[in-house]
Symmetry: C2
Amino acid sequence: MTFSEENYLKTIYHLMAVSDADISTNAIAEKMETKASSVTDMLKKLAEKELVNYIKYQGVSLTEKGQLAAKMIVRKHRLWETFLVEKLDFSWDEVHDLAEQLEHIKSEKLINKLDDFLGNPTEDPHGDAIPDASGRIIKIEKQLLSEMEKNRVGICVGVKDTSSDFLKYLDKQEIALGSQIEIIEKESFDSSFRIRVETKEITISHKIASNLYIK
Amino acid sequence: MTFSEENYLKTIYHLMAVSDADISTNAIAEKMETKASSVTDMLKKLAEKELVNYIKYQGVSLTEKGQLAAKMIVRKHRLWETFLVEKLDFSWDEVHDLAEQLEHIKSEKLINKLDDFLGNPTEDPHGDAIPDASGRIIKIEKQLLSEMEKNRVGICVGVKDTSSDFLKYLDKQEIALGSQIEIIEKESFDSSFRIRVETKEITISHKIASNLYIK
DNA sequence: ATATTTTTTTAGTCTAGTCTAAAACAATTT
DNA sequence: AAATTGTTTTAGACTAGACTAAAAAAATAT
């Protein structure tokens, strides 16, 4: 499997996690910042290899085989991210691009040994689930902060957006995985939130609230 | 810099360490298991980028810039090998192919953090020197066992051949880096050696002796 | 129901890196 | 010195993966 094939599978996998319906050529092209015609070419190739179900003009979905392959790439990505943060002391906003490279290293043995070395973590530094060697995922029930009621209290367990900008903002506000968060007030005018992070009270926009997972 | 360019640079670097003279197109082709015509194409490209000095029909050598780039690839290769053996518990015969992949990961910061994590080692698991962040190499004076006199005693500090077959043979004979080795007898008929490894006496062929570095 | 717009696919082009076959050059032998 | 052999380069073809432009299909608007 080439780097490019792996990147397409991963993208389709992530899009399927959001949408249920078949994934459109354009959706893939947009997410990968490539052209629809390139996507069509690759979909044919992946269909040939029985990694996706593809019908002209009707979008794609992953086959069982494709799903497993995608999960293994996600597994690698998230284990490498964990390694970078836990062992090499990178901050959580730096690791994505590096993991994009490392996820393509081909060796089951390596990734399983890395998994053991890290103590078989079930979540990466952004709170996303790490599939195990057979593709199983332990998913925790979590909620977007934006969907929670006033006065509810919870723990920050993940982020939806993992862009460097967003993560740096969270660092600045001292919001981290594990932080206790209480909703003090919801401002109906602009949908902003007044929250308490541990002992500190701050105001966050709706956009921020809709990218924080709480449990 | 592409993977392919990096592989050519590394190959030229290794060939230069042995030969002094300019490196021939065929020598590169043979080492890389590719065709001479492909090598010519790439040499033109590398010359264009001022990474090699290349004159038609007269072979190549690395420029300063090329040398530094090559050293950085070797640095990455050897640090990753060290990581795999020291931290992930791979054996020394398994790590080469994995390091061939990992050496192409692009990030200075990553490799420097990995270096620190490993305690800034100066040698990899095969006894080869690891260039530091600026390309400096601490070279230890070492000798091939095959070039040593009878009755000399030394410590095994490296291997010349790093093939899996050879390394597995050494494991079987319980020869490792750090093993004390004494030359008991040199057999002039077949150039084989009778040696003592720590407390155990064994006979090794000339081929084996000429792939073991002793200090 | 037809026209328009959007999406998707096809057809053809480009680049990097490889290859084969042939030509050019260098080294060796006679 | 000429002929042979070996090495290196050139010329042209191929593949993967991207692209543009045009055609085809689907979705939407009139």
